[in-house]
Amino acid sequence: MNDLDFLPRGERSGQQAAPVATEPHELTARAAALLERGYRLALAHASHRGPEDARGEAMHAVYLFLAARPDSRVELTVPLDPAAPAVPSLAALSFPAARFEREMRDQFGVEPVGHPLARPLVRHPAWPDTWHPMRADAGARPPLDPDPAPFPFLTVEGPGVYEIPVGPVHAGLIEPGHFRFSVVGETILKLKARLWYVHKGVERLFENRTPARGLPLAERVSGDTAVGHALAYCRALEEAAQVRPDLRAEAARAFLLELERLYNHVTDLGALCTDVGHGILGAHAGRIREQLLRINAETTGHRLLRGGIVPGGARLLTRPDPARLRALARDVQELAELALGHSVVRDRFTGTAPLTTEQARALGTLGYVARASGLDTDARHDHPAHPQLPAAPRVLETGGDVLARFQVRAREFQGSVDYLDDLGELLPASGLDDTPAEIRAPGRERSGVGIAEGWRGTIVHRIELAPDGTLERVKVADPSFFNWPALPVALTGAIVPDFPLVNKSFNLSYAGNDL
């Protein structure tokens, strides 16, 4: 086993991430030591400061490792040469690392030495491959290549094998993604998902904003995860500015996080029923969702809960009546029982596209996808925001199939309503209006990490503040970035008409994945 000697003494646990200056040649051994001890790579990114800055040109890469129980965070900071940035690739140690490295190469031109896959990940094929949009000296976008090389899809050969290309424009109103199925009869031999049609340059848009102006952007990273991303952003900001919200504020934030989980989970439960042609349960899920959205609007003034999370605290117009939530929980319980009591619906869910625990762990999946495959990962337990917060519910299924992902959501809905009861006791019924904490100019560079268990899984933001208090670099890691590669793995051997159902059971964000 590799040693952890490089960690500063006394900082092996505790909330604040301990930044450890690491030379490129030390990186592999240190990462291996951390991964062996149960740490996971939560995020990796590069940062670049241009030569016109008074502090001089600088570039570095950051690898954030997280471990649970006890909550422990380690940041390996690798200085890079802006002229020829290179890091040793960690692809052999961690699958998510391989993806973050490709992202770093596309955005900053950081070469992961020894990376097995030379292909771009996030870069648009029509962008010149020498242009790295996140570098400080990137300048305006150069003209697009009018005839970019087509994506090298792997062609599966054999008698009777054919391809089905689907998307990026779909028949329903969903986000864009291209799926290329290699099929024999109706059985899927291989699926390649091409995402990256919704690049908005969000991380670049954060740069040079004041922290307050960064918040609306964080709320819009993924429309259905306004609270999750806003909370991760605010926590990162608070860590950088060394502000600690009190118990009441953290309870209010946890409250909003659960409200977001409720309306999204019930949407998915209904959509899963609709996808197997059982429309009536979809209609009822729509009714429940609408009532939850109205509760959201009463609670924060916005149906998607925007504006509820503020730096240093939270804003609630009122605390929703627990009896109403309880009534909706009973409706959802009944809905789930009706769905699973229907033999055809149950048959469609059972054994469909299983993701084994081993696969879920190797790919680094998060959220309900991981919990349906028996992986106990939940930032509410792993990285608690406040020691006195009531314990969040714990839901685990082991099947890994569509049924397990359905049941995790159904059970989490019930657990969340119970949890909302506990949290509500810490909140005044008349609402809460914490004035946002003032994020003062720290006078020197500071960084912070924010972790929140959004409804899809663990969201991590890392922020670097300039000495004048503006945002220098914001890195967003949505759980979808980790979970997308699991979809084709789970689908191997499934049949084509089951794909929409399986895709819905994962329900990953395209916008949160492609920033």
Binding site: Y162, A171, V276, A283, D347, R348, I495
Partner: protein, 314 residues
Amino acid sequence: MSAPVLVSLAQVLLVLLGAPLLVGAMRRLRARMEGRTGGGVLQPWRDLLKLLRKAPLHPQGTGAAFRFAPLLGVACSGVAAAAIPLLSTRTGLGAGADLIAVVALLTLATAALALAGLDTATAFGGMGASREMTITALAEPAVLTAVCALAAKVGSTNLPAIVAATLSHGARPASPANLLAAVALAVVVLAETGRLPVDNPSTHLELTMVHEAMVLEYSGPDLAMVELGAAMRLTVLLGLWSALFAPWGITTTADPARLLLGLAAFAGKTLLLGCLIAAGEVFMAKVRLFRVPELLAGSFLLAVLAVSASFFLA
């Protein structure tokens, strides 16, 4: 023009005008049962008129198969409507109104649309065509076997003869052979018209579609013809089923007053059957594609039992 020809013409017009109303009524009922408002009964007609006003558009590289399949679909259902004794057994096709011929006509429409799906050379067209032909190939044996059971008693596959024979013996529809054949054909009607649990007519998920995947490239007036053909097919199949197993109200003459009564009975029966399907669909889900053969094999088994029953229990 002779009276039987007029009867046939009336039947064709009735199916042509009434089929979209039936679809509208079924959608409306399903929406209300699911707690939604839904579109009006006239909505399918409004959609058809809207589509007919649009410019025709054909994908590059498609040929006659794509062009003529929608018209062939409407024509096949139209001829079937002329042949089946929907209002009166005195239809204008005489010996041509054969049960096997009617089944073949409806299969011809399916085959034409499958060819059109292949003609587009898209993955969805081919996928839909392949699924549709699989289902049809499994449904046909059940239909033909059930037909045998019905024809064996009368000694003819001529539809007016079968219906007239049933009408002349009041108690006959309840014979074991008839009941078994009725169930077998009911399953086939669901499969052939793309209803739950075989296909989901209201899905937007292109990868799960059967009929819809095949016709994905159609637009404008062609799509209107495809939709009209599908609605007429549903009406004709329900009409055929009710003529065979619930022939009450069908007259054996061409008397106008009796015909009006027959019209009311036909409208009532078809609407009732359609509403039963729509109501059933509310509580149903779509089976996994690979379970469809099991369903149709069950239908075939019932048809075989119907044949045995018609020989041994007669």
